[in-house]
């Protein structure tokens, strides 16, 4: 009996191919240790739950609605996409697609417009994951006639009634989400998993930059790498820093400058290596350095 259970856990794990997704998660997402460990917990729980139901032990469908809180660019949407895939492999959602919406998609413009709109979205998300970005905009306390409340009530009802058809993920900045949940206690208690996304450290951001460049088939020259490290340190202290998204934007601009630089020396023949390499000057030209210099002057 004991051996049999052990065997089937292993078989279940192999069958669901969850291990692959988890490995991918580890490889492609830098940092985010608390998020990853929570996802592992959920995976383990769902696997055990599946086995329990095979042995006819009581296994009420667990509630898997989640809230992702964290600063911009910390990977909430990316993790939500992965989550949909993981839940699909575990057989918890049937289709595993992600429907990403914001307030505009749920809340209508006049009386009686909200309910059909929300229902439409909910119908589309059935069998998958509904990802509500910046969920706190749904609730506007300053306007008591705001239709957002209606959308929240419909969400609540459907989250209960269709627990095995639908997983809802609320995402947004931490402080505003907390306020949102405080003013909607019914919502907070129906969400089983509150996952907080920490900010990335500079080393993690550098690793993310490398990963992005690898995906885009670019490389950094050795000097450029040092400059990128410097850039990240400076950028973190400046306003509107949004973690991985800022890095992506910086790299996109570096690619633009690299293209301009290559075009300027068009009479020279180019090798594949030159086409792939981003040099120190491409990053050095960023206004981040100029602003930092000005900041230290004044």
């Amino acid at each position: 009996m004991n051996a049999a259970t052990q065997m089937s856990l292993e078989a279940e794990l192999a069958e669901s191919q969850v291990a692959d997704v988890l490995d991918e998660l580890d490889a492609e997402l830098v940092g985010l240790a608390p998020v990853k460990s929570r996802i592992r917990d959920i995976c383990a729980f769902l696997l055990v739950d599946k086995l329990r139901s095979q042995l006819n032990l009581n296994s009420g469908a667990p509630s898997l609605h989640m809230s992702f809180t964290g600063n911009p660019g910390t990977g909430k949407t990316t993790v939500a996409l992965r989550m949909a895939e993981i839940l699909h492999r575990l057989g918890y959602v049937r289709k595993g697609h992600l429907v990403a919406v914001t307030r505009d998609d749920l809340v209508g413009q006049y009386i009686g417009h909200t309910a059909p709109k929300t229902r439409e979205i909910l119908k589309r998300a059935m069998g998958g994951v509904l990802f509500i970005d910046e969920a706190y905009y749904l609730y506007r306390p300053e306007n008591e006639r705001d239709y957002g409340q209606e959308a929240i009530e419909m969400l609540l009802q459907q989250m209960e009634d269709h627990r095995d058809d639908l997983v809802v993920i609320f995402a947004g900045y931490k402080d505003r989400m907390e306020q949102f949940f405080r003013s909607n206690p019914g919502l907070s208690s129906r969400i089983a998993h509150h996952i907080d996304f920490p900010n990335y450290t500079s080393a993690e951001l550098l690793a993310i930059g490398h990963l992005m460049l690898k995906q885009m088939q670019y490389t950094l020259s050795r000097e450029a790498e040092a400059v990128l490290r410097e850039y990240i340190e400076l950028r973190q202290t400046q306003p509107n820093f949004s973690n991985a998204r800022s890095i992506r934007n910086a790299l996109d601009r570096a690619r633009l400058r690299q293209a301009t630089r290559l075009l300027a020396q068009r009479d020279k023949p180019l090798s594949a290596r030159e086409l792939m390499t981003i040099e120190a000057q491409d990053i050095r030209a960023s206004r981040v350095f100029a602003q930092a210099a000005r900041g230290s002057d004044s």
Partner: protein, 129 residues
Amino acid sequence: MRLTQGAFSFLPDLTDAQIAAQIEYCLQQGWATSVEYTDDPHPRNTYWEMFGMPMFDMKDAAGVLQEVNACRHTFPSHYVRVNAFDATRGVESVRLSFIVNRPPEEPGFGLIREEGAGRNIRYTLGRRA
């Protein structure tokens, strides 16, 4: 008299699981589904009343089934059918249509006899009261 229109109408009524499986097939083919109802199932009455909008971009049958159940709840003694529309170029028409709800008692149709000009007798189908 049992109404025999659309697919599966000579079979016993489909269960919800069977309906879901049919809808699932439609969605896999990329067809858009819609729910319609009527209290006048005359064979020449092609266009039934729409229950809500046609549903595009659906991934799972649960959403469509929810709409079917809402329609059954609102019109328990009407005929309700599910249509699947294929928008592929060159097809652009309903591919599958089947009845998912019938009134408890189906009156069927009566043959109405009418005398026309020149002592002609014409027959037509009419609703039986």
